[in-house]
Subunit: 146 residues, 2 copies
Amino acid sequence: MLKISKLTDYGTVVLAHMARRPDRLFSAAHLAQELGLPLSTVRKLLKQMTGAGLLYSSRGQRGGYCLTRPPQEISLVEVLEALEGPLGVTDCSLAPKLCGQEATCPIRNNWRGINGVIHGVLQQVSLKQLASDQTMGIGIEQAGGL
Amino acid sequence: MLKISKLTDYGTVVLAHMARRPDRLFSAAHLAQELGLPLSTVRKLLKQMTGAGLLYSSRGQRGGYCLTRPPQEISLVEVLEALEGPLGVTDCSLAPKLCGQEATCPIRNNWRGINGVIHGVLQQVSLKQLASDQTMGIGIEQAGGL
DNA sequence: TTAAAGAGTACTATATTAGTACTATAAGAG
DNA sequence: CTCTTATAGTACTAATATAGTACTCTTTAA
């Protein structure tokens, strides 16, 4: 259904929460409690996002996580790709040799185009926007072609 | 990875092929052979799309399938929804009561907005465009909000 | 030195996806 | 009228992905 996974969804919830206080340091336990998510799950997400470079972590007592960049500079694509790997609507728009039909497939190029558009949409959304109460305005226009 | 399933992908290949000859009647066996896809799989897809109202079917000798509407009037969303059910990037943008966080989730509205945009992109792409050799032109513009 | 916190690893249950096989039914050809 | 071709319906299996959890190790500040 063209869905992101539930874990990724939780990940965006966690990041959006952190984006509201970019100054603060958040521990996994605090986040889990504040957001009502299972601690183990939150831990897993934080670890993964740290590995992807989205978060700084500091250990020890009074340790925790914080964003590596200001929330308006982090796009949703980055977050999704950190948690799910490269974004591809179809196999062929992701990597070669996954489909088998590839060489002869007459619609591959068009799928790649669609993938690019969706990628663009998600790139335009920043973490700051995602965390915002205001409704986001993103429009689409038909540019040309047939 | 925000991906459609491989079966759905095959479905679009099949439909795009049929869209090039909207007059013709295609049997499952022919399509499977022409596209190099497994017959059983093609059969499954055709049945499902017929049930969803995208195809007419006629049985018996010289039977087969054809599109119920001209290819430029069939949007990609319809095809995806016929094969995968309602389109929802997140659980909460799909149906109530799937997430648990729903009531308190601060970013639900924004996800719903993103979902709407992606829905819009796929709605703008017709089967005729998908089947076309020409590169499609779809642009995105930032309209407002923050 | 101890307690709080992240890092690393491994595991299990469930759901989804992909692919296939078999039987029944309909309709045209001869 | 019956044979052949084709769709309709159903059911099943294997592989993969997802979700959630548990446990141990390491770091660091009080």
